[in-house]
């Protein structure tokens, strides 16, 4: 069995499809595409398949990853990519298929960080501060030593220091469209959501952030190299 890594994008209406249903979607898509996927043994065999960090409902993505076991020593990546695209809806596109080295960790275990692009939805443009104001707040946040954010979940609430999770935070070059870019921790052990950073940022400027105002797109996911640097999950494959 060989492992391949599939990078796919998720845009438009399918952003409302949750992670488990994306997995179910691909189980069927792979069958439609007649990809020679490996199955586990047993009475109800399932496809050997691993996904990197789940994408939240409502988010779009340019860089989602799924690793597949393939019953072929020399998988034809281009053919697999084309077959999957043929079998997929227009909203989910396969960007690349690469063979993983035998030593590579699986997508779920090796994901360390995610990069996001964030802007405001058209119907929430009124709530968006101007570009200069955002730039000022980002500069301020980048200079702070600690950014204590109160994280509340259904069961617990605790303070976390966002700085420990943010690797990069910046604003795009455009002078009129505010595009915010951030790279943050999304490892399975410990991660934050891009919304935390945005809430903190807007809080710094005492700016109200209405619910569902942000159009968030994941751009890519990374693993951590031995030297501590980030490497796109796409670059791990050959």
């Amino acid at each position: 069995m060989k492992k391949i890594r599939v990078r796919f994008t998720k845009h438009g209406a399918v952003r409302y499809i949750g992670h488990l249903d994306v997995m179910r979607y691909f189980q069927k898509c792979i069958r439609r595409a007649k990809v020679n996927v490996s199955y586990s043994a047993g009475y109800s065999p399932h496809q050997i398949m691993t996904f990197a960090a789940p994408l939240g409902v409502g988010l779009e993505s340019e860089g989602e990853y799924m690793d597949l076991g393939i019953e072929d020593e020399n998988p034809d990546c281009e053919a697999i990519k084309n077959a999957l695209n043929e079998a997929s809806v227009p909203e989910i596109r396969i960007r690349s298929v690469k063979v993983l080295p035998d030593t590579a960790g699986n997508a779920m275990a090796s994901v360390y960080a995610s990069a996001y692009e964030i802007t405001f939805f058209d119907d929430k443009k009124d709530a968006c501060p101007d570009v200069n104001k955002i730039r000022e707040l980002i500069d301020k946040m980048n200079e702070m030593d600690h950014c204590i954010y109160h994280k509340e979940t259904k069961k617990t609430s605790r303070d976390i220091d966002l700085k420990e999770f943010i690797y990069e935070l910046k604003i795009g070059d455009s002078s009129d469209v505010p595009l915010i870019y951030m790279t943050i921790n999304s490892s399975s052990a410990d991660s934050i959501k891009p919304l935390f950073v945005m809430e903190f940022l807007m809080g710094l400027g005492n700016i109200n952030l209405p619910a569902n105002a942000l159009k968030i797109t994941r751009l890519d996911m990374y693993t951590q190299k031995e030297d501590g640097g980030l490497l796109s999950l796409d670059e791990v494959g050959i």
């Binding site: 845009h11 438009g12 209406a13 399918v14 409302y16 499809i17 949750g18 249903d21 179910r24 979607y25 189980q27 069927k28 898509c29 792979i30 069958r31 439609r32 199955y39 009475y43 109800s44 065999p45 409902v57 409502g58 079998a87 809806v89 227009p90 909203e91 939805f121 119907d123 619910a211 569902n212």
Partner: protein, 628 residues
């Protein structure tokens, strides 16, 4: 169409449970250019998406309509209660999934009506769509509202809400109706003109053109067309040859898990058995089988086009399909290559079916199911359930020897002519199966654990077009008493610890009876319940019995009349104007035979002359097969 086109705003989609229900864009959904079609057909199942998407009938009709170049058929389901509330508060109209445009844009709103308890959801659909609830209040801008499905065999309680009912199988007459609609549109005919013309297409019933009169005791006096050219009787439509009709080779694949998360393959229509309580067994006569070659070709095409991991065979009684071994041999071999599971509901348990189950299921996980429906042989004869105690015990014995330990038994309580001894027989039967286990499997061989038997009882609801359409239904109190008798009967058994008993709710059963055998007066009750906030009555969490009782009282009607009363032999029923092929005289004869505990042979054994042979199709005598 744009990838982003969604009818609901991001705010709404992010605030409701399972937004995937409302976004469309599924694999194999059909997108057409609205400007390239002449007729837009909104096809609705009035329940939540996961239920509606699982329905085979809609899949067949969706495929048929979209194979017509001039028609675009789209889907509509009931918004779940959370979205329902948001839509009402913000005046958001109901929309179709494919185009993400309002239902009002459609020329037709077709509603499939599979169970009585969805009637309030029909009003929800109409109301949210902005269509007047009653046919008489609609104008040229409103879609033509057309109903189909099993409940339309007594359409009277919902007659006011529909412009047309399609009685029978949908594959045969829709082309004619669409052609008529296009012609009427071209020639500038009014809505009423169109409906009058539609009423003369076979199988179509336009309730507005019939006058109903009642006797003083509330029973039906007469049911007559109110204008010329409208037929007195409406005969159900039947597909004569199931190999030569529509079947969806590329069904839609939902993103969320639906009730049927698999390819559904209908192998035959109708049932040879003639159980006297069973409406489907009469409605879908004559029995017609699909050919094996066509089925195999279809099922593999469906698997290719959907990627489903499972296939389910569908019919009222799959064991009675004559080519079952041949079909299964091929399916099992090919599906194991494809790593596709096979599920086989409605199989009679015998050596053959156990052998098949052994091949396709994990014995440790699967269970063996029997539906004797009645606890004693006497009562099984009354209901004409052709399953003997010997059949059950020998099937169960073979299953036990084969290693199965989980058994499920389904019964109904409240059959006509039922006695407490019949009910106590349920416990006896379950106990005998348990005893069989302890006798056949020595202690050291019980590796899959001891036997576990689940007994479930539901309450009998008399349905139109069955032998029991004359029969009184038990009251809720009587139902509950019977459930206690059943429980007591089980508790008295030696092996009672191995038997788990559960029973269904009695309240909905009596309301179901009201709706099943109701007349036009009942529509006021449905409307009142809806106006009191009733929707999703098929869901126990949302069903409020008091609301129904209040509405019945406010309308001056009673369950005594509709549910608990035995009807006279000569009584004119609200559904008598529909001709299903099976004659009323035959059904009455069956009711009398039931009272005497006499059985009637199944269709394959011997024709009993029910009348369905007049369709000249399927298993009936005198049918010319394959041109021979």
């Amino acid at each position: 169409m744009s990838q982003d086109k969604l009818f609901l705003s991001n705010d709404i989609l992010m605030s409701v449970e399972k937004p995937e229900r409302y976004i469309g864009h599924e694999v194999n959904s059909c997108i057409k250019d609205p400007d390239s079609v002449r007729v837009r057909f909104a096809m609705c199942f009035p329940d939540v998406y996961e239920i509606g998407m699982s329905h085979l009938g809609i899949q067949i009709l969706y495929d048929m309509f979209n194979s017509f170049d001039d028609v675009w058929c789209e889907r509509v389901y009931s918004p779940w209660v959370d979205l329902d509330k948001v839509m009402r508060e913000n005046n958001i109209p109901l929309f179709m999934l494919e185009s993400q445009e309002p239902v009002k844009y459609a020329d037709f709103l077709g509603i499939t009506i599979q169970y009585e308890m969805c009637y309030t959801n029909i009003l929800q659909i109409l109301d949210l769509s902005g269509i007047p609830l009653e046919s008489k209040d609609r104008n040229n801008d409103d879609p033509i509202v057309i109903g189909g499905g099993p409940c339309t065999y007594n359409p009277e309680p919902i007659a006011d809400f529909f412009d047309i009912f399609y009685i029978g199988e949908g594959e045969t007459r829709y082309r004619e109706l669409i052609d008529l609609y296009e012609k009427c549109k071209d020639e500038g005919y009014s809505r009423d003109d169109f409906l009058i013309k539609a009423a003369s297409i076979p199988g179509l019933y336009v309730p507005r053109f019939y006058n109903v009169e009642y006797n003083e005791d509330g029973t039906l006096k007469s049911f007559e067309p109110s204008c010329d050219g409208i037929p007195n009787k409406v005969r159900k439509e039947v597909v004569k040859n199931l190999d030569d009709t529509y079947y969806p080779k590329k069904p839609i694949v939902p993103y969320i898990r639906c009730i049927q998360d698999r390819v559904v393959l209908e192998i035959m229509r109708g049932c040879i058995r003639g159980c006297r309580f069973c409406q489907a067994g009469e409605l879908y006569r004559p029995v017609r089988e699909r050919g094996v070659d066509k089925l195999l070709e279809t099922v593999y095409a469906m698997l290719d086009a959907t990627g489903y991991e499972e296939v389910s065979l569908s019919s009222l009684s799959s064991s009675d399909y004559t080519h079952l071994p041949e079909l299964l041999d091929n399916l099992i071999e090919e599906c194991s290559k494809r790593k596709v599971n096979i599920t086989l509901p409605s199989l009679r348990i015998d050596a053959f079916s156990l052998d098949v189950m052994n091949k396709v299921e994990d014995i440790k996980k699967s269970s063996v199911t029997f539906a004797p429906e009645a606890g004693s042989q006497r009562l099984r004869n009354v209901i004409n359930k052709g399953l003997t105690e010997e059949d059950i015990l020998s099937g169960a014995g073979q299953a036990i020897k084969g290693g199965w330990t989980k058994f499920k038994f389904y019964f109904m309580l409240g059959h006509p002519f039922e006695t407490d001894e019949d009910i106590e027989g349920i416990g006896d039967l379950a106990n005998k199966v348990a005893a069989e286990f302890f006798e056949l499997v020595p202690k050291d061989k019980r590796t899959n654990g001891p036997i576990s038997i689940t007994v479930s009882t539901s309450f009998f609801v008399p349905k139109p077009f069955t032998a029991f359409q004359w029969a009184p239904q038990c009251t809720q109190d009587e139902f509950i008493r019977k459930a206690y008798v059943c429980r007591g009967g089980i508790a008295n058994q030696l092996n009672q610890k191995r038997i788990h008993y559960n029973w269904h709710d009695a309240d909905t059963s009596v309301i179901e009876a009201l709706l099943a055998r109701g007349d036009r007066k009942v529509s006021a009750v449905i409307r009142k319940v809806y106006e009191k906030g009733g929707i999703y009555d098929a869901w126990s969490d949302y069903y409020k019995h008091d609301r129904w009782i209040e509405a019945i009282n406010e309308c001056g009607l009673s369950l005594d009349f509709y549910a608990f009363r035995e009807r006279g032999d000569e009584e004119l029923f609200p559904w008598d104007f529909i001709d299903i092929g099976v004659s009323k005289a035959f059904l009455l004869k069956e009711y009398k035979k039931a009272a005497r505990g006499e059985i009637t042979y199944n269709c394959r054994h011997k024709c009993s002359g029910c009348g369905a042979a007049s369709f000249g199709a399927g298993i009936c005598p005198g049918v010319v097969k394959n041109g021979n």
